[in-house]
Amino acid sequence: MNSMGRSAAKVRIVGAYLILLAACFAILFPVFWAFINSLKPSLVYVYNPAAINFPPTLNNYVKVFTFWKFGNFFLNTAVVATSATVISLIAGTLSAYSFARFGTGGKRSTLWVLAIRMLPAVAIILPLYILFDMARLLDTWPALILAHITFLLPMVIWMMCEFIRDVPTDLEEAATVDGCSRFGAFLRVVLPVVSPGLAATAIFCFLMSFNEFMFALILTGAGHSRTLPVALSAFWTSRKVMYGEMFAAVICVLAPELILAFSIQKYLVRGLTLGALKG
């Protein structure tokens, strides 16, 4: 009986490993395939789609930066994502402190923040497009920065509320007894304690802005200030597609994303899930 139970447990463990490995394979294969194809000279596809033994070339990567001018798009994306993140982080953390510590607006106030998430993005971009058009801001950094703040700011408030709630209130109380103002206590005591959460939120927002596609497409289109996802999407047109160059560009976008994502993984789990699950 006992040995049967033990072997059943063994079967379950092996089964679990097999399923998880299969899932990992399903995730990694497309990434691997994009990488392989970024090294492929353009004629190899025609002969054998699955070829992996070809003379690899870095030509595609060179073309991405010389012919397709991806350097510009990197700059656009970095400027937009950084500005939108910094503005959202400053305004959002202040609000989060108010919600988390003073319960401003009652218990349900953070739910309202979540409600903004439900707005169809197309409902927001439509008036923004007309207003930016009137202000002659189309195809500029400020337009896209403002548009990205519409979804980053609620996200910051939501995540930072969670991180601030985890800080024990005694710390601030002690600081105020020592003659700190409440706001001073927030700056000198609370902020340093939540700084890992703040960093995670910042990177998460940066990634969201970096990846955002629809607003960027509508506001910057084929213009000078277009971001990386928009530039990428233009590779696959109805005419000839340069697959090798396209995947070199894909890898250039993918690599920084993966590095950022792995750097915040631990906090990501907390920031995203705790808020959602308590909700």
Partner: protein, 281 residues
């Protein structure tokens, strides 16, 4: 000072959100009662009353888009939830080495949807695609409406299983230990424990996970753009894509605003229905 501080702290967010969210939404609400052709601004705004909304309700393309969106959302979210929950249960066994696997499994939700769309579109290419080649078939994954929709659903599943997995895993980790220990002592089977302990205790995690995914899947745009452009025909034209087309391909701004408000109402209704359906004990 402290009494007012909590309101001062909200001021920056309030002004920003008012300027870029509340004001534009009011603007488009008023615009929804007018005809406004952006390509012909000389005509200006012409008052239409409720006409745009009435036209929207009876617009066959809008109805089609709504139907397609439902057809996309429900299978996708069901698949994502089931696979994500299953993987979360496996990861929660805390076997050796599964931490690394967990990191790997989170990759898709962190990368650009355009990257995902382009990579899958290429892998599913009828001639150069590695999937057809390895399976030894000549299948056109995006050729007919049903196939394109299926491909869209599968790609969405690939992208979002990580999120459902992450949320369900967090739910599992937050469960108290004692009930499970006593169930073990009482000799409950694995299935019984799962059915009568795990599932009921995970209720709020399940509700939140499904809600978040429903809301986001209902707004899907990026993959439609990069995989199918709504085609073939209008067979994968989801709501966002249709409203986008009315607004930014035909520039019927008044009508597009009315449609986006109808869309908003549908989303709110969807959220209410799911909350009450899943929240009921």
């Amino acid at each position: 000072m402290t009494a007012k501080l909590k309101y001062y702290l909200l001021l920056p967010s309030f002004f920003i959100l008012f300027g870029i969210l509340v004001f534009p939404l009011c603007y488009s609400f008023i615009l929804a009662f007018h005809t406004y052709q952006l390509t012909n601004p000389a005509l200006g705004w012409q008052y239409e009353g409720l006409n745009n909304f009435l036209k929207g309700v009876s617009d066959p393309l809008f109805q089609n888009a709504l139907f397609r969106t439902i057809q996309f959302t429900f299978p996708a979210v069901t698949l994502e939830f089931l696979i994500g929950f299953g993987l979360a249960l496996l990861l929660n066994m805390e076997l050796k080495g599964t931490r690394v696997m967990q990191s790997v499994l989170l990759i898709p939700m962190m990368i650009s949807t355009i990257v995902i769309g382009l990579t899958w579109r290429f892998m599913l290419h009828p001639e150069f695609g590695v999937i057809n080649y390895l399976l030894g078939i000549q299948y056109s994954w995006l050729e007919t409406g049903n196939r394109a929709m299926m491909t869209l659903i599968l790609t969405d599943t690939w992208e979002w299983v990580p999120l459902t997995m992450l949320l369900m895993l967090a739910g599992l980790k937050s469960l108290p230990v004692e009930p499970f220990e006593s169930a073990k002592i009482d000799g409950a089977s694995t299935f019984q424990t799962f059915r009568y302990l795990t599932l009921p205790m995970l209720r709020s995690a399940i509700v939140v996970t499904i809600m978040l995914r429903l809301i986001d899947a209902f707004r899907e745009y990026d993959k439609v753009y990069v995989l199918t452009q709504g085609g073939p025909g209008q067979s994968t034209e989801l709501l966002t894509f249709y409203v986008y087309r009315v607004g930014f391909a035909y520039f019927h701004m008044g009508y597009a605003s009315a449609l986006s408000y109808l869309y908003l109402i549908i989303m709110a209704a969807l959220a209410l229905v799911t909350i009450s359906a899943l929240g009921r004990r």
